[in-house]
């Protein structure tokens, strides 16, 4: 089964984990449709070296028409979709109080509704095939959160819930659903693509000091983290695995640690552990700068 080339549809494949997964799948001989908002600009770097089995296709997950078109294109080209890698999403940092309606809703539209749109678009084909694998890229932030990460975590917690429900719903047609939870990896999501709440950008946040310290600390931390190759490789494993898939697959040391801490600790113990972490990235940098808050 794993030896037969699989047709895989990847969203958010212009960089980071999506690009790594697309290229790894291509390297293993699968047929990959790497979707992105701007294939003209970002496609060539992703498809380089794999012209035969890796194609960059336009798809903006916030635009249902482009999702439907990309799925139709894939079916026309390959006749089937064996796996969907729901990866498109972005990281927005900001405290709950600072986030605007638009910032909150836009992030949900990409990170959560975007995934649901894509699932809806591929399910008819998978149902007809009587098989399929849906891989939803969540995050360690789908299992924990902290200051200035609340908006992002809300989208990832939501993806976890969507995936758990979906597993029950589509199992009767032989369709598998799995959640992938990477920790922090050195990807564009942590640097050029990292978004910050407007209030902080304009220097008017009540939480300015700690949030700035957090952003700086998080970037420094991310710079020392591994790149996305191992996540791409594990996603490719999940595409190839013939066994039943678990609900969640944490990826890397960081996610595995959070997984075991969450399992071993009460919520209150976990909260205390986070507060006392004292690391230079998330969330230690925030707590270290907390004294700057004006609490009078």
């Amino acid at each position: 089964m794993v030896n037969a080339p699989q047709v895989v549809f990847v969203t958010g494949a212009s960089s980071g984990i999506g690009a790594a997964a697309a290229r790894e799948l291509a390297a293993r001989g699968h047929r990959v449709i790497a979707t992105m908002r701007n294939p003209k600009r970002d496609g060539p770097a992703v498809t380089r070296g794999y012209k035969k089995n890796l194609e960059a296709v336009r798809c903006d997950v916030t635009d249902r028409a482009t999702v439907d078109e990309a799925v139709a294109f894939t079916l026309e080209r390959h006749g089937r979709i064996d796996a969907l890698v729901n990866n498109a999403g972005y990281l927005l940092l900001g405290t709950i109080e600072d986030l605007s309606d638009d910032e909150i809703l836009s992030q949900f539209d990409t990170n959560v509704v975007g995934s649901m749109r894509t699932v809806q678009a591929v399910l008819p084909a998978m149902r007809e095939q009587g098989s399929g694998t849906i891989i939803n890229v969540s995050s360690a932030a789908g299992r924990m959160t902290g200051p200035a990460f609340g908006g992002y975590s809300a989208t990832k917690y939501a993806i976890e819930a969507v995936s758990e429900a979906l597993r029950f719903e589509v199992a009767p047609w032989g369709i598998k659903v799995v959640i992938v939870e990477p920790g922090t990896h050195r990807t564009e999501a942590q640097f050029d693509n990292l978004r910050v709440a407007q209030a902080v950008l304009e220097g008017r946040s009540l939480y300015q000091g700690p949030v700035e310290a957090l952003i700086e600390g998080h970037r420094r931390y991310a710079a020392g983290r591994p790149g996305p190759r191992s996540v791409g490789s594990i996603i490719a494993d999940l595409v190839e695995t013939g066994d039943p898939l678990p609900v969640r697959v944490p990826v890397g040391d960081e996610a595995a640690q959070i997984f075991s801490m969450r399992a071993a600790m009460t919520d209150e113990e976990f909260e205390t552990a986070l507060r006392n972490l004292g690391n230079e990235g998330f969330p230690g940098a925030y707590f270290a700068a907390e004294h700057e808050l004006n609490t009078n």
Partner: protein, 299 residues
């Protein structure tokens, strides 16, 4: 954002995980010293395409002099060793009752003492450097155990106990020790990397049928499993980490799940679950065969 090239020695790099690790590190721009017993035969395929980043050298982990010469080779070539991946090892299939002394000693000599030999050889250099990483490739078999595989599970359990001790000992020198807990993958070990006990090989085991069902189950299941690439990628990540490494790094779609289940259950509950399995791979094939043979009055 770029990571400085790291110098890594890998044992058992002729194929499977070891070869994949060497090639993944090379692909990321690091220097990999890929060691194996027979470089003339196996080296070329591992190096191909990465001539500037992979050096092959001979090393048999059961032979101290070759371990020392491989470490000397790496130091001469690169002036330092940032990481060692202790990957060399093999599986042994057969019931414990029928293991011969030398079969068990040989297994331990490769899978455990082989790691000690490498630790002895690299520690002076790592101590001088003020740091280094020792990554020991373990397995779920180091955490749980099952029939027909007791010798191998014993060796991986031993590696876990040893590594935990070593971690405390070398931490003051800035040397980190981690166990890579590898789950279910399709590698050559399922076809050619497992040895059979002599009794089993000669077809006169009391457990002949359950063992053969186990072997067939593993072969059948292996076709459903991914190859070694993601293990290699996770180990390459561990080589690159700037952060402190944890004691255990799980890899494999089922590894965290099995560990979580194991942690949650008592020994009795876990054993009842395992014994109740009737899947076609490990361990259901064993228990299914035993059950049938019991009904037939053979056992």
């Amino acid at each position: 954002m770029a990571i400085d090239p790291r110098v890594t020695i890998i044992t058992g790099a002729s194929r499977g995980f070891g070869a994949a690790i060497a090639r993944e590190l090379a692909e990321r721009g690091h220097q990999a010293v890929a060691t194996m017993r027979n470089p003339d035969r196996d080296g070329a395929a591992v190096v191909k395409g990465y001539e500037g980043n992979i050096q092959v050298t001979r090393c048999d982990v059961t032979d101290t002099s070759t371990v020392e010469s491989a470490v000397a080779f790496a130091l001469e070539r690169h002036g330092r060793i940032d990481a060692v991946v202790n990957n060399a090892g093999y599986g042994l299939i057969g019931a414990i009752e029928e293991l011969q002394d030398e079969e068990l000693h040989r297994l331990m000599d490769t899978n455990v003492t082989g790691v000690i030999r490498m630790v002895r050889a690299v520690m002076p250099a790592m101590r001088r450097q003020g740091g280094g990483k020792i990554l020991n490739v373990s397995s779920l078999a180091g955490r749980i155990s099952g029939p027909a595989f007791g010798g191998y599970c014993g060796s991986k359990h031993a590696l876990e106990g040893l590594s935990e001790a070593l971690r405390y000992e070398v931490a003051p020198f800035g040397v980190e020790v981690s166990l890579i807990t590898v789950g279910a993958f399709r590698t050559s070990i399922q076809w050619t990397g497992n040895e059979l006990t002599r009794t089993l090989r000669e077809g006169r085991s009391l457990y002949q049928e359950p063992c053969e069902a186990f072997i067939q189950g593993e072969k059948d299941r292996a076709t459903l499993l991914p190859g070694p690439r993601s293990v290699a990628a996770v180990i390459a990540d561990a080589v690159e980490f700037a952060d402190p490494l944890p004691l255990r790094i799980p890899v494999g779609f089922d590894t965290s799940r099995v560990e979580a289940v194991r942690a949650k259950m008592t020994d009795d509950e876990f054993a009842a679950m395992i014994s109740g399995m009737r899947n076609t791979g490990f361990p259901g094939s064993w228990f299914g065969t035993v059950e049938r043979q019991q009904k037939e009055g053979v056992l």
